[in-house]
Amino acid sequence: MTDRREARFGWLFIGPAFLHLLVFALIPICYAFGLSLFKTRMIRPEKAFVGVDNYTFALHEDSFRNALWNSTRYAILSVPLGIVVALAVAVLVNQKLRGVTIFRTLYYIPAISSGIALSMLWIYVYLPETGMINSGLHLLGITNKTDFLSQVEWAMWGVVVMSVFTGLGPRMVLFLAGLVGIPQELYEASALDGATGWRAFWKITLPMLVPTTFFVVVTSTISALQIFTPIYMMTKGGPEESTDVVGYHIYTEAWVNFNTGLAAAKSFVLLAAIVVISLIQFRLMRNQLQGYSAA
């Protein structure tokens, strides 16, 4: 068998996937960058080269800045909250209790659900009079008629709280994997020093979960920056553009206003943010892994 023959077969096997990568990822990304340099609209064919004008325009446009700010706000609120809840739940279901796997399964269900169905359900949770929250409060004797999704001060929180529950499953599983990986001897050793319960959690569990937590933070942040479906179904970016996040804003620019070039430029601003976050992840992960192998 010659090396050449081996190489030919290697390419043959990779071929279909590589062709797909080319047509549906590499070429589109270059195409999108090209479009971002033109003033062009979906419905009219003529194009005018404008260089970086779309980028300067986007970065100075109030509504795009507002969208960037909303996405940042959404990520800052939903990621830490989602992680704290997921970690607490993971610790809860990591105990040796009868029937604990049933609960793990139940908590995962929203993650495999239809995003549209979930959004419809959560619209109900937040309805002013008959919704789950307000009619639940009513049963407790508290009268509250807040229409959560149409109040500027509540709408973003509505989407954030929903994401904590719908995103719980995968995060919980990741933390469970991290928890299972902590050597039991560490706990035994610290028990000899008198550190159990909360102290053991702070001194052993949390530090040992740093790599997992880091991974969860980065993946959650990247997906938080792209949130679309719940916004499209529940708030349409409102009230007063207070939930107009970047994912929804780009959708509106591309498919409602048909400003193809400008939308492409805006999507590259988002891509830049995601690439920066991913690179930071890569660097930190590598440092951490080196730290482990040195130890």
Binding site: F9, I14, I29, T212, T260, M285
Partner: protein, 274 residues
């Protein structure tokens, strides 16, 4: 002390489960209220006489062909799952077992493509698919899903974990490359293949954005897009029928999930070990 702690844990788990599952129970209960009836409050949430006919109404709605959406979703999802497993496992075999110039660079391109977020690809993908003349066809729904960088990565890891001696042994028995892939590696990588299939299944079944922009006639819509049309056309005015539609979309997902949940747990963990 120990019993108290366990009791507290169960209380916490049950309370959380109740809160997570409550909207789903509500969905089923509301779907059984008579069509057009107002949203029930928690006090009268249980329908007095279950309106099972809602399911017939939604499935055979004269304006919104839900049965057709259902068929489209099943057809598209199965095509993508089968096609993607084939394409990605072949590529994974190439990366795991063959040496050639440009292999590392190619693999790095696959990994980098995982960062290309949906909002960046939506416009060029639409224009490319339009260029192929595929808008509003099954091809638009299936072909872009036929490969996935994540699954190439996942299956490559699975193949790397299989000892090379098995390949050598098969080769001595006269097996060619394709036979080794089909008869040795694929059967041994079954758990990872199942994980990949499970992720793809749910990803495609519940995908909203791409089918939403790449199709526009009732004949090519999928359930997820159909459900959004349903939600928007009734606009919160006919909750019982909306919830019936939601149950119809969710039921197959739950059934499949109950059968393959362990592959999910595996898959989510594999994603973290890069």
């Amino acid at each position: 002390m120990r019993y108290a702690k366990n009791a507290l844990s169960y209380f916490g788990m049950i309370a959380l489960a109740a809160f997570m599952i409550a909207p789903f129970i509500w969905m089923i209960l509301v779907s059984l209220h008579p069509s057009q009836s107002p949203i029930p409050t928690l006090a009268d949430i249980v329908p007095k006489k279950p309106a099972y006919e809602n399911y017939g109404k939604v499935l055979f709605d004269p304006n919104i062909p839900v049965a057709r959406f259902f068929f489209n979703t099943v057809f598209v999802t199965l095509s993508v799952v089968v096609g993607q497993l084939l394409v990605t496992s072949l590529a994974a075999y190439g990366f795991a077992r063959f040496k050639f110039v440009g292999r590392e660079l190619t693999f790095a391109l696959f990994l980098a493509s995982m960062m290309f977020a949906g909002p960046v690809l939506q416009i060029p993908m639409f224009l490319i698919v339009k260029g192929f003349g595929w808008l509003d066809t099954y091809a638009a729904l299936i072909v872009p899903g036929l490969s996935s960088a994540f699954n190439v990565f996942l299956l490559r890891q699975a193949f790397l974990a299989i000892p090379k001696e098995l390949d050598e042994a098969a080769k001595l028995d006269g097996a060619g490359y394709f036979r080794i892939y089909w008869r040795v590696l694929l059967p041994l990588a079954k758990p990872s293949l199942a994980t990949a299939a499970a992720f793809t299944f749910f990803g495609v079944w519940t995908d909203f954005f791409w089918p939403f922009i790449s199709t526009n006639s009732m004949e090519t819509r999928t359930l997820e897009v159909g459900l959004s049309i349903f939600g928007n056309s009734y606009g919160g005015t006919n909750w019982p029928l909306e919830m019936t539609a939601a149950v119809i979309v969710m039921a197959p997902l739950l059934l499949v999930f109950l059968f393959c949940q362990r592959y999910f747990v595996r898959g989510v963990m594999l994603g973290s070990i890069k």
